[in-house]
C-alpha cells in the first residue's frame, strides 16, 4: 500500500478505499467458498538500506500525504524503532517507513476463491479460450474464441497485456506494456518475518518470498541469475539470518504497466457496453474492483471518481 500513488492522488484514494474494503471482500469470499484468504492488515514496513534511500522514501511519502488531506497515515521509523518490530535486522538497515494500512493476503487463495466464487454464483468459465475476434452489432457483442462463440450486451476486457490487441476492437486503446518482476521462494521454515515488508514476506505456510525486480525486457519471463543474486543480496542485508534459508524456486511474471503505472479503466464511447480495465496491483485493488468498480460496470457506467483513470490521460488517439 505505502508508496502507491506518489504523484497521483486519485490512485492513493482508490488504493486506500480498497484497503478499507478488503475485510469485507475477505469475509464475503470466505462465506461463499469456505476458504480463508489469510488477510492480515497489521501494517507493513519498507526497509531502507542507506540514508539516501531513507531520504528519498520520506520525500515521496511526504508528497503523497500532502495530496491526501490527512487520509494517508505513515511513519518514518529509525533503526531502533524498526528493531522493536523485527529484532534481527542487519547492520545496513538505517530505517524505514511503516504504514498501518499495509498488509498482505495470500494471492493464490484469492485467485482460487474468486474463481470458485464466480462459479458458485452461476458464472461460466471457458478455459484455454484465446479470443480471435470481437464484433458488435445493435448493442450485442459477439466474441469468437478457441472454445467457440458467445454473445452478450456487456463486455469487459480484463485480459491484462492481451488488452493491447483486444481494446482496439471496441474503440479503445489500453496502452499497457509488460514489466518483468522476479522473485525467489524459500523452503517452509519457522516464523522469521514478523510484519510484511515490501520486498520480504512470509506466507502462512512458512515459505519466505523475496523480491523483486522491475525490468523492461518485453515478454521475457525467464529467471536470470544476475537479478536473482541482487534480490538475494538485498534480502540478506535486510535480515542476515536469511542466509541459511534454502531457495527452492524462482518465479517471474509480467506486470501490466500503463505509462504512468496507474490503472486504466474505460468504457467505450464508440461501442457502448464495452469496458476495458487493467492495473498492475490486482491483489491490492481486488476489494475496490469487486465491491466498487464491478457495481459500476453492472449498472452501465463508470462512476465519476474513476474518470481520472481513463486512457485519454495519455493523449492516445481514439481507437
Amino acid at each position: 500500500m505505502q508508496g502507491k500513488g506518489s504523484g497521483f492522488s486519485a490512485y492513493a484514494d482508490w488504493t486506500m478505499r480498497s484497503a478499507e474494503l478488503w475485510p469485507t471482500l475477505s469475509s464475503e469470499l470466505q462465506e461463499l467458498t469456505g476458504r480463508d484468504l489469510g488477510l492480515e492488515q497489521e501494517g507493513g514496513i519498507h526497509i531502507c538500506l542507506s540514508q539516501a534511500e531513507y531520504d528519498d522514501r520520506k520525500a515521496r511519502l511526504d508528497a503523497l500525504r500532502s495530496h491526501q488531506n490527512g487520509r494517508f497515515h505513515y511513519e518514518m521509523l529509525d533503526r531502533q524503532a524498526l528493531l522493536d518490530l523485527q529484532p534481527d535486522l542487519g547492520p545496513d538497515v538505517v530505517g524505514g517507513s511503516w504504514c498501518p494500512a499495509d498488509g498482505h493476503v495470500n494471492p493464490l487463495y484469492l485467485l482460487r476463491s474468486l474463481h470458485d466464487g464466480f462459479l458458485r454464483h452461476g458464472g461460466k468459465v471457458h478455459s484455454d479460450a484465446e479470443v480471435s475476434d470481437i464484433a458488435s452489432k445493435t448493442g450485442i457483442f459477439t466474441v469468437t474464441s478457441r472454445q467457440g462463440v458467445v454473445r452478450a450486451p456487456r463486455l469487459v476486457l480484463a485480459a491484462g497485456l492481451g488488452n493491447r490487441t483486444l481494446a482496439p476492437l471496441v474503440g479503445l486503446t489500453q496502452p499497457v506494456r509488460p514489466q518483468k518482476g522476479q522473485i525467489l521462494v524459500t523452503q517452509k521454515t519457522d516464523r522469521m518475518i514478523r510484519l510484511p515488508m515490501t520486498l520480504l514476506r512470509q506466507t502462512a505456510e512458512g515459505s519466505i518470498m523475496i523480491g523483486d525486480s522491475k525490468e523492461e525486457v518485453g515478454f521475457d519471463i525467464s529467471s536470470t541469475t544476475d537479478v536473482m543474486a541482487q534480490i538475494a543480496h538485498r534480502a540478506e542485508r535486510t535480515i542476515p539470518a536469511l542466509k541459511h534459508q534454502q531457495i527452492i524456486r524462482s518465479w517471474a511474471a509480467l506486470r501490466v504497466m500503463s505509462p504512468d503505472g496507474f490503472p486504466v479503466y474505460d468504457q467505450s464511447l464508440t461501442h457502448p457496453g464495452a469496458f476495458a480495465i487493467t492495473c498492475h496491483s490486482g491483489v491490492t485493488l481486488a476489494a475496490a474492483h469487486a465491491l466498487d468498480l464491478a457495481g459500476d460496470i453492472a449498472s452501465g457506467g463508470l462512476a465519476h471518481h474513476l474518470s481520472e483513470f481513463t486512457e485519454r490521460r495519455f493523449n492516445v488517439s481514439p481507437g
Binding site: 523452503q187 517452509k188 516464523r191 502462512a204 505456510e205 512458512g206 541459511h244 534454502q246
Partner: protein, 97 residues
C-alpha cells in the same frame, strides 16, 4: 530392519538429535538412519511422517536439519566425524495444525 551384508568397521561418531551413533567415514546419512530403524525423519505439511523414498535426491522426503540450521537431504549428505543432525519429525506451525 535394514542390515548390511558385510558390516564395515565403524570409525567415527555422528549425533542424531544429540544421541551418539557409530558410523563409518563417507557413509550416506540416509543409509545410517535406515539401518538405525529411523524410516521417518520429518513431517509433511499435514503432519504425517515422511522418510527416505528415492535415495537419489529427487523426492526431498529425507530432509534433516544440520547444525547451522540448513535443511539437507539425508541421501545427499555424507558422514564425517562429529556431524550433528536433527530430525524435524514434528513440524507444527503456529496455528497448531
Amino acid at each position: 530392519m535394514f542390515r548390511q551384508v558385510r558390516p564395515q568397521p565403524q570409525d567415527i561418531t555422528i549425533y542424531i538429535d544429540d544421541r551418539p551413533c557409530a558410523a563409518r567415514v563417507g557413509d550416506l546419512l540416509a543409509n545410517i538412519l535406515l539401518q538405525e530403524g529411523m524410516s521417518a525423519v520429518h513431517a509433511a505439511p499435514n503432519g504425517t511422517p515422511r522418510g527416505p523414498y528415492c535415495m537419489m535426491g529427487v523426492c526431498f522426503d529425507c530432509m534433516v536439519r544440520l547444525e547451522d540450521g540448513r535443511f539437507e537431504q539425508a541421501c545427499q549428505t555424507y558422514a564425517e566425524d562429529g556431524l550433528r543432525i536433527y530430525l524435524p519429525v514434528s513440524v507444527v506451525d503456529e496455528s497448531g495444525q
